[in-house]
């Protein structure tokens, strides 16, 4: 159990929870109290001692309040060349007045959808933080893409966070896409300030039959921010889910990404890069659950670690007994650039069916000396050559992003990071 007295630390959050979804909240609260904040002994949080981090300075957390986001700020934060619709959030809460109306898509506050099966995808009993969010979030957003709707332009979820140390931001997102629908989301958070606030986010995505669902995420929080997120998706037969996750900064970041393949011929793709410097600690936990035959999953995570940063990768592929003819592939490559950087990686396979093809690969290494020499021999100086090679390394993930404006934006950020820092 944690050293945190679990009731105390987040009790004010739990007490001030609104009176919506009472049954779901009660269930989640109980589940949270049973689990407690995971200590470092908990296998799933072995290398990410979030309890200690949270406890460091704060003994009582309170909910962060909404603040006014200037229209100018919203405008200037949108990527160059982006033409899709924008939904704006202030400290996790949806701001309809700043957001665009999206044609053919239903958007509302989650509290208006009283019969929503909250927590049916991101189950509170699986993770203490998901439980905490479900028990105490204030309000969230509900997005529904109807059957056969093809939303050509991506939908940008633009969050502005500004809170003090000891304040918690708890965004809650529910996305559902009907059969044959096609939609892409871009999740981008912007920190206004460098305070040590705590973000505890839950996103539930529900895909129908033959849905094409993409969720891109850029994490570029303030360097003192602590963040835990649970993104979990259920998809049905013939559907495809693609996630691209780019982590660039923060103090301690924990990403739980889970995908449940519930119909045959479904396909899951999970891609990610973490480019870390300073003392940033990023922990990517991914989980693909193959429950049915004839599904496929691909996973590629890459890490570049400089300074005293620490990366954790735990990729789990779970193939259930009935999930014959599964193809599941997973790859994690890491480059350590500094003596003080640490990587803990655990690519994990749990296979209960026999007629499957599953593999994982994992490497930790440095830049190829010969490639470096080759470039230097052609008159490119060493720093530039290194930047070029690292950029190529990261590029394999970046190119999975289909939306051009977002890809260009990430590309620039990555290049800046690699060119200036390394």
């Amino acid at each position: 159990m944690s050293t945190l007295t679990k009731q105390d630390t987040f009790s004010s959050l739990l007490e001030s929870a609104p009176k919506t979804f009472e049954a779901a909240r009660a269930l989640a609260k109980e589940s949270y109290l049973v689990q407690g904040i995971p200590a470092s002994k908990a296998e799933e949080y072995k290398f990410t001692n979030i309890g200690k981090k949270l406890e460091q300075n704060i003994s009582k957390f309170t909910a962060a309040q909404t603040f006014d986001v200037a229209g100018e700020l919203v405008k200037s934060s949108i990527f160059e060349g982006f033409e899709g619709d924008v939904l704006v959030f202030s400290n996790g809460k949806f701001q309809p007045n700043l957001s665009s109306k999206i044609e053919g898509v239903e958007v509302s506050l989650i509290s208006e959808k009283t019969d929503l099966a909250l927590g049916s995808i991101a189950k509170p009993e699986k993770d203490a933080f998901a439980a905490l969010n479900q028990a105490s979030f204030e309000d969230g957003i509900f997005i529904s893409v109807p059957k056969k709707a093809q939303i050509a332009k991506p939908i940008l979820l633009l969050s502005f966070n500004q809170a003090n140390e000891g304040q918690v931001i708890q965004p809650r997102v529910w996305i559902e896409a009907g059969d044959f629908a096609e939609v892409t989301f871009i999740d981008h958070s912007i920190s206004l300030g460098d305070t040590a606030y705590f973000v505890n986010k839950v996103v539930e995505l529900k895909g129908g039959i033959n849905t094409q669902l993409s969720y891109y995420r850029l994490q570029n929080e303030g360097k003192n921010a602590i963040e835990v997120s649970s993104i979990e998706s259920d998809i049905q037969k013939d559907a495809r889910f693609t996630s691209v996750n780019i982590s660039l900064s923060g103090d301690l970041v924990r990403n739980n990404l889970s995908l449940n393949l519930l119909g045959s011929n479904s396909e899951g793709n999970m891609f990610g890069i973490f480019l870390l410097n300073g003392k940033t600690h990023v922990d990517n936990h991914t989980n693909v659950d193959h429950t049915i035959p004839h599904a496929e999953s691909h996973e590629l995570y890459k890490g570049i670690l400089a300074d005293q940063s620490r990366g954790v990768f735990n990729g789990k592929i779970f193939v259930r007994q009935d999930a014959q003819k599964t193809n599941a592939f997973q790859q994690n490559n890491n480059i350590l650039l500094s003596e003080d950087a640490i990587i803990n990686t655990k690519p994990q396979l749990e296979i209960w069916a026999d007629d499957v093809k599953c593999s994982h690969g994992c490497t930790v290494g440095q830049l190829d000396e010969e490639a470096l020499f080759y470039l230097q021999a052609r008159g490119i100086d060493k720093m530039q050559a290194k930047g070029l090679l690292l950029y190529a390394f990261a590029g394999e993930v970046l190119e999975k992003i289909q939306e051009e404006s977002f890809r260009n934006y990430c590309d620039t950020l990555v290049q800046e990071r690699l060119g200036s820092k390394f």
Partner: protein, 481 residues
Amino acid sequence: MSKDNTILEELTSKEYEHGWSVNYEADEAPLGLNEGIIQWISAKKEEPQWLLEWRLKAFKTWQSMKEPEWANVHYPKIDLQALRYYSAPKQKKSAKNLDEVDPELIAIYERLGISLNEQKRLEGIAVDAVLDSVSVATTFRGTLSKLGIIFCSFSEAVKEHPELVKKYLGSVVPMTDNYYAALNSAVFSDGSFCYIPKGVRCPMELSTYFRINAANTGQFERTLIVADDESYVSYLEGCTAPQRDENQLHAAVVEIYAGAQAEVKYSTVQNWFPGDKNGKGGIYNFVTKRGICAGDFSKISWTQVETGSAVTWKYPSCILKGDHSIGEFYSVAVTNNYQQADTGTKMIHIGKNTKSRIVSKGISAGKSQNSYRGQVQVMKRADNARNFSQCDSLLMGDRCGAHTFPYIDINNASAKVEHEATTSKIGEDQIFYCNQRGIATEDAVALIVNGYAKEVLNQLPMEFAVEAQKLLALTLEGSVG
């Protein structure tokens, strides 16, 4: 499919070859575990005071520990108070040489195919035969002692070479290491001790054969191998147990110490009784094995073929402390019926320019669960560490499982670490290819499995390789179609 089933039935109905037991007059400790029992064991073995104190300290440590539950294995809790911690065949007097050993006991080993008669043995293997809690005979001691090599039972080593035992006992696997290691430290009965002096290349394979015979007895042996600087030894371990309905506990500790430029090769063919086809009975094999490459340029190599035991919990590890030291782990783990195996290795890179290699081949059939659990850790000062790991799983039958839990913890930027794992079943195309060339499905499977495990089997000393191949064939014949 029906053909497969008949073949599978044939296979699973195959009796465990070494399932018999013998009645002999035994010297037994009363059931249960307490300080009194430990004193009883220690007195029985006429141990010096320091060892008794060491045992009691371990017992205290153990009492404060909890049974580990993280492994991917499930079994009913063992009632440690219902076990007997010492059982030894009664011998008229202690045997000074083989001629004095009770012929009945020698017969047990003859029946297992282990001849203790030096003339009858193939040249080049010295055997320490351990029955339940004691070592009954050690062969070729004369030949070995001429080279200064000490190879004897652990009890004798305590009496004759206390300084060596005192120096190395618990130096690689401390009593506080884990629950079962602490338990072993408190109650260990016998085992083998081997010391290779500086600069000596051991001319023959040293081998220990463990046999559990008595019922309700736990076997807690302790093996200590010390290879001084520039020496070499290859060590083999074999084990079997009678077929009984209740589960028996085997919690051994193996410690290996390798000095500068020394090389130790440790091979095991583990064939404890795996339980019957309904998962009844079998050995719980909870073993701690660890070697330390203490000196520069030293090397420790583990090779294991795991076919037996109802539950296996075993992680032979290498601590690569000396610069340029090398650790290797080759494993074939086969599980069938209701067997569960959670096995793998730990490679701890501490010295500079250390290298390690892991090749693990898991084969699961029937309703068994086979897990690889490994760790590669590169410490901060371990510059230029290199690791390559390959963990493959082969699945036969749709009710078995194969799991991989590799931990890779890198703390040094100059490390090069690669890990690869695949899981699949034998491809229909591969079988079809063989069929086309006139090879029957049955033989094709054997061929493919053999090829699959070859990388590991090649590492085994010749005599063992033959046994291992036979065991593989026996366990897997016809499991796939």
